[in-house]
């Protein structure tokens, strides 16, 4: 099994991260609003090797975000366990993981602090962790922003730049923490499709330069196939993997991939499955979340 994985990794991943492997083992999450038990995650198991871009695809409200929140340490799980690089994050006797700078979330609507300038936002994590001196932190922040094409926006507030740039600032802010895993919660949902395509390429570029594992939630199939090494299509609530699919289009990718025959094939192969779950979810009247 390990040899197979190794083989896969060397073939698919230009960025060979050695850390940030996530193992989700038989996780169950039951919410209990007013005594009415609602199962959000149903015996979900998933292995994400270090350095993979793992796309979690599922209808709105299927419980994908619950899984992300469990990894990030924002919410507890009911049973099962989640570990990173062999170390338990949460599991028996420890229902909620500690939030930490090794797992940074890029939120659906963005969580840049509007009262801090972009530069201050980017420098926030290292300043809080006290890992470096102030001067080094700001130097690093400036150079990382420059690398991401954000020069000239350092002293703007997030509210003063376009939403696409804001997302980029947020990703840079996440990377400043040297995370092992980046957790994306439908970060490009609110963007128009043109901005989205630019953001996708920018994200891949950032990914190629940094050794991170990416756990990316979306309900946009095109986005999922374009970015991911692997697609995990979830069932509608309660959520568990329904179909796992390798995307055998080699990285590095650019937007020409979208018109390739293989891309179309993969779209066809998956859209029926996704559509079926979406219909179920719609019939069940699930709310967003």
């Amino acid at each position: 099994m390990n040899a197979v994985l190794e083989n896969l990794r060397s073939r698919r991943m230009p960025n060979i991260a050695t850390q940030g492997a996530i193992r989700i083992d038989d996780v169950v999450k039951i919410y209990d609003p007013d005594g009415a038990a609602v199962m959000a995650v149903d015996h979900c198991s998933l292995d994400i090797p270090a350095g993979e871009i793992c796309m979690i695809v599922g209808p709105s409200g299927c419980g994908k975000t619950t899984l992300l929140n469990a990894i990030a340490g924002f919410h507890s799980i009911t049973s099962g366990s989640i570990s990173m690089d062999g170390q338990l994050l949460c599991g028996p006797g420890k229902p909620k993981a500690e939030p930490g700078s090794d797992r940074i979330v890029v939120f659906q609507n963005g969580a840049l602090f509007p009262w801090k300038t972009n530069l201050e936002n980017v420098a926030f994590g290292p300043l809080m962790q006290g890992k470096l001196g102030k001067k080094e932190i700001y130097e690093k922040a400036r150079s990382m922003m420059a690398d991401a094409g954000l020069s000239g926006t350092e002293d703007n507030f997030p509210g003063e730049v376009s939403s696409g740039l804001r997302r980029r600032v947020e990703i840079v802010r996440a990377l400043m923490n040297d995370p092992k895993v980046l957790l994306f919660d439908e970060p490009y949902r609110a963007l128009d499709s043109l901005t989205k395509s630019v953001m996708h390429e920018a994200l891949l570029e950032i990914y190629y330069k940094n050794k991170v594992t990416i756990f990316f939630i979306t309900h946009d199939l095109e986005e999922a196939i374009f970015l991911g090494h692997r697609l995990v299509i979830m069932t509608s609530r309660p959520c568990k993997p329904k179909k796992i699919l390798e995307v055998d289009i080699p990285h590095p990718r650019d937007y020409s991939v979208l018109t390739s025959p293989r891309f179309r094939e993969l779209m066809e192969e998956t859209s029926a499955v996704v559509h079926e779950e979406a219909k179920k979810s719609f019939a069940a009247g699930e709310k967003e979340g």
Binding site: A111, F113, M128
Partner: protein, 275 residues
């Protein structure tokens, strides 16, 4: 510096300020005609016919500008407003933050707070006079109450509505509880503090004037009892022009206070400024 002067110039000569000037002039002219309707038109218009004309008011005002008592009224009212307002901020902001942050504290204090809040500040005047040793303190206390409840309610509302994503992001990036309070809760609440304080400032002016009328102008009495007392005194003395002078003075004072607050608020929340 020259840039800000240019901006000021632009603002002064903009279309908006031209409109404001025209509106003011039209208002004053109509008022003058209304007041002098008996003299000019032969019939006294209802209500406005009894009001002293702006020209008469201006001439009385001109005399008052050199009157020490008039300026003392300004000073006294301003001091009371500021005392009450600052006390309300100093007590109200931490109290509001505590109520927002701690469920226990909020559970213990909020019911009492909500019972006291609807009581109009002026209903406190008799009690305030009994409670406090000097009339000056009584008036400041009533003024304080005027701003206090508004400030607290706004701070609580602002701090409670902070998006949980900010807390989660800060926590994941290694911020301590204290860091989160200082770098997330405080700045995120600032806009509500600014709003609460500007509303509160308006209320303090309402309250101080009424309190001065009721309590007879505080300890100094006579002609130096604040703008509220100045109006009341003018009424008793039968100088209707002075009443209007007092009213306009309060309007100007209140407006100036709001402008100062707005400027300070703008400096404190630069991310909300439109560039």
């Amino acid at each position: 510096m020259s840039k800000s002067i240019a901006r000021l110039k632009n603002r002064l000569f903009s279309r908006a300020s031209l409109r404001a000037c025209i509106a003011l002039v039209v208002f004053v002219v109509l008022w003058e005609i209304g007041s002098r309707s008996k003299q000019w038109l032969g019939v006294s218009l209802p209500w406005i016919g009894q009001v002293p004309a702006p020209s008469a008011v201006m001439s009385v005002w001109g005399d008052l500008l050199t009157n020490r008592g008039y300026w003392e009224s300004w000073y006294l009212s301003l001091v009371r407003v500021l005392a009450g307002f600052i006390a309300a901020m100093v007590v109200g902001i931490p109290l509001g933050l505590l109520m927002a942050v701690s469920k226990t504290f909020s559970g213990l204090t909020f019911p009492t707070f909500e019972v006291l809040r609807p009581i109009p500040p002026l209903a406190w005047v008799p009690v305030a006079i009994i409670f406090w040793p000097t009339q000056e303190l009584s008036i400041a206390f009533v003024t304080f109450l005027g701003a206090f409840f508004t400030v607290v309610i706004n701070v609580v509302g602002g701090a409670k509505s902070i998006d949980s994503r900010y807390f989660q992001a800060a926590q994941a990036m290694g911020a301590s509880q204290w860091d989160i309070f200082r770098r997330v809760v405080l700045p995120a609440t600032l806009p509500s503090i600014v709003v609460g304080s500007s509303v509160g400032m308006g209320i303090t002016w309402n309250v101080v004037v009424a309190a001065e009328m009721i309590s007879g102008g505080g300890s100094s009495g006579g002609s130096g009892g604040g703008l509220g007392f100045f109006i009341w005194n003018s009424y008793v003395g039968g100088s209707y022009e002075q009443i209007v002078v007092g009213m306009i003075s309060i309007g100007i004072a209140g407006y100036a206070c709001s402008e100062v607050l707005r400027a300070v608020g703008g400096l404190a929340t630069p991310w909300l400024r439109q560039r």
